[in-house]
Symmetry: C2
Subunit: 254 residues, 2 copies
């Protein structure tokens, strides 16, 4: 039976209102390279990406699905992982950790907080604040008024989509990504390892934004045991490293 | 002497941290159509746009400059309007009204607010809140930690770049845009007129997001007196309407 892989790439965008979003930067280039390599190796590739991200060049045995926000990503991946059996899942999409819940003008925000003070006379607690944010409001603004010096945006954590992957498909090989910004290598590797373990991943590609520039892109591929199975200095080389590692695992299984 | 026009198109992106931005949606398609029409009429076109926006198809007599956020837009327009004399400025770029100043975890935010409350025993004022936001912090996070249920983003108003245009070049013809979401036509026209007058504009294109879909795009072009000088139902037709109106004004002047 034809081998099948699920690849995510690009960056999500969480709506603030009808005309504004919080976007996670990602060109999707690395994901498109990985997809093209697996297509060369005759895999069926299911590619989940975002509107502005780059696409794989090859077309045969490729299905592309577009999502916008984490909610849609969650629904899409749950559907695909329930419907198809994947030999591997490579989750390279930059997924927003937070999504906007409410926005307040300076005036509204002060009023909201003072309501609590005046009622209870007590300092604010984290629970008070959470409660204030989660309390539904009657009117929803389709476009935020700019008639305030300051605007307050309350965001809440998005569901960790990646943690569902192994739950829905325990036997698939999961490659996750960890991007940090300007940290020592030791810290990068340790944080990447911890995130892989939390997601029950099999491999994690650890990279630091400060090493990504044009063609240059330093990446360390770690296995479950935290060993560096490979290191690469360009997007092409990282794609090769990940692809070859998955292919080797595949043959091991046989 | 060759006629010269400055056109802005696309949407700005304001950095939250190294990997996230607040973006204003805009394909830049309408601006690119307008630019192509003025190039056909042998204008020199200075085109200020953003990375992901569409470009004009014609190339001769066109200079394209790319900006990312409102700060860069401000600097770029100030430079161009000081350096060159423009017969007209068409400001179709979707410019962010707010830019992130600080982000707080749930815990940090509650602490900050309570510090004030416990010190003074008084309710919070808008000034207190503004002061809290504007007080510089020693550590700046290059990537926001996701280790909090809620995140608070404090944003401040960006400088109104459009209001500088007529100050720097009183004799140019300024066409501004006003986009609202799902309001009655009368309200749309009234708000658009008010914004044009505030910016000392000569014309304003009033449009409502709910009428923009694929090729369909309803726009009303208002003059200083608030009269509708034209109405169009597609991006192409809006571009034609704006271009023809500016060309007519140009000949009037002669």
């Amino acid at each position: 039976m034809k081998k099948r892989i699920l690849i995510t790439a690009g960056g999500t965008a969480e709506k603030i209102d009808q005309v504004r979003s919080i976007t996670n930067h990602s060109t999707g280039k690395l994901g498109s390279f990985i997809a093209d390599l697996f297509l060369k190796h005759d895999y069926q590739v299911d590619y989940v990406t975002t509107a502005s991200a780059l696409r794989p060049t090859a077309q045969i045995n490729l299905t592309v699905e577009e999502i916008t926000d984490t909610q849609q990503l969650d629904e899409r991946l749950t559907f695909l992982l329930t419907k198809n059996r994947y030999d591997a899942v490579i989750h390279s999409m930059a997924v927003s950790d937070f999504t906007p819940v409410k926005s307040y003008t300076q005036k509204d925000f002060v009023e909201q907080i003072n309501q609590h003070f005046l009622k209870s006379g007590l300092p604010l607690t984290e629970a008070d604040l959470a409660n204030m944010i989660e309390t539904p409001v009657a009117t929803t603004t389709s476009k935020i008024s700019s008639n305030t010096d300051y605007l307050f945006l309350a965001l809440k954590q998005t569901p960790k989509v990646i943690q569902k992957i192994k739950v829905l498909q325990p036997d698939t090989l999961l490659v996750s990504f960890k991007l940090l910004v300007d940290v020592p290598k030791a810290e990068l590797l340790q944080v990447a390892l911890a995130s892989m373990q939390k997601n029950q991943g099999d491999f994690v590609l650890a990279n630091d934004l400060t090493t990504i520039k044009g063609q240059a892109h330093t990446g360390y591929l770690l296995n479950k045991e935290g060993q560096i199975v490979g290191e690469a200095q360009t997007k092409e080389a990282i794609a090769q490293l990940i692809t070859q590692t998955i292919l080797n695992e595949g043959t091991k299984e046989v």
